[in-house]
Symmetry: C2
Subunit: 144 residues, 2 copies
C-alpha cells in the first residue's frame, strides 16, 4: 500500500492539540512511519499593522529555544519519538518547517488548523505558504 | 482509534491523479470511512489579468455537467463509490467543495497539489480558501 514513510508534525504547545496528536499517532501507526517533531520560534513577528517587533526579549532566544527543546523532548517521550527527531528551530515558521521536512525527507507534514481562519491562526500568516511551498503532502488537522 | 468517518475527494480529471487515488483508497480502507467524490465546473474563470471569461461556451454548462457526471460515476465504479456519492457542482470551486463537505458531513477533504505552487495550480486560486475555510481536516496530496 502506498502510504507515508516519514511524518513531520509541527507543534506549537498551544492548548487543544490532543486531536492533532491522536490523528498523528493513528496515521503513523497505520503507515508504520517514522515521526519527527518540529517547533519553530519566530524571534521577530509582524502584527496586522505591519509593525515588526521581537516575539521574545532580545538576547533570550537561546533560553527560549532550550525551554522549547525540553518541552518537545517530553512530548517526544510520550509519542515514542527519539530526541534526535525533535527539532526546535529559530526563524520563519514557513522556511523552518519546510527546511526540516526536506532534511528529514518527510513525505507528510501535519499541521494544526484553528476555527474559521484555518491554519492561519495556529502557525501565523506563513501557514498558507507552508501549504503551498511544501515538497510533500500536507495534512491540516482542524482543532475544535 | 480516532480516525475519519466520511472522506470527500475533490477530483479534476487532469492526468497524474493516481497518487491521489492511491492515498485516498489507502486512507479510506484504514479508517473504514465512507467516500464521496466531488468535481466542480467553474462556468466563469478569472485569468491573471483579472479578466473574467466563460470557461465553457455559454449555454453548454449542463452538457459539460452531464459529461463530467458520467466520468465521475466511472471513477466511482472503480473506487466502489455509489453514484449518489458522486457530485458534480457548477460554481466556485471553493464554495462548492465546502458546501459538498458540509452536506455529506465529511470530516476529511482530500485535494491534489501540483508542483511548486502547491494546491493553487490544481484547483485555481480558490484552493487556498478551501484549506482555510474548511470545517474539517484537509489533506493536500502532492502530485509529482
Amino acid at each position: 500500500m502506498d502510504t507515508y514513510n516519514h511524518i513531520l508534525l509541527a507543534v506549537d504547545f498551544s492548548g487543544a492539540t490532543e486531536t492533532l496528536l491522536q490523528r498523528t499517532v493513528a496515521l503513523r501507526q497505520f503507515c508504520g512511519a517514522d515521526l519527527s517533531l518540529v517547533h519553530v520560534i519566530e524571534p521577530m513577528v509582524v502584527d496586522p499593522s505591519y509593525d515588526v517587533f521581537p516575539a521574545i526579549p532580545l538576547g533570550l532566544e537561546q533560553e527560549a529555544a532550550g525551554k522549547a527543546q525540553r518541552e518537545l523532548i517530553r512530548l517526544g517521550d510520550r509519542l515514542a519519538v527519539p530526541a534526535d527527531h525533535c527539532h526546535v528551530m529559530l526563524g520563519s515558521t514557513k522556511s523552518e518547517i519546510l527546511r526540516c521536512a526536506k532534511d528529514c525527507m518527510a513525505d507528510l507534514i501535519i499541521v494544526g488548523s484553528h476555527g474559521r481562519h484555518g491554519v492561519a491562526l495556529l502557525l501565523g500568516s506563513t501557514a498558507n505558504a507552508v501549504l503551498h511551498g511544501a515538497p510533500c503532502d500536507v495534512l491540516a488537522v482542524r482543532i475544535k
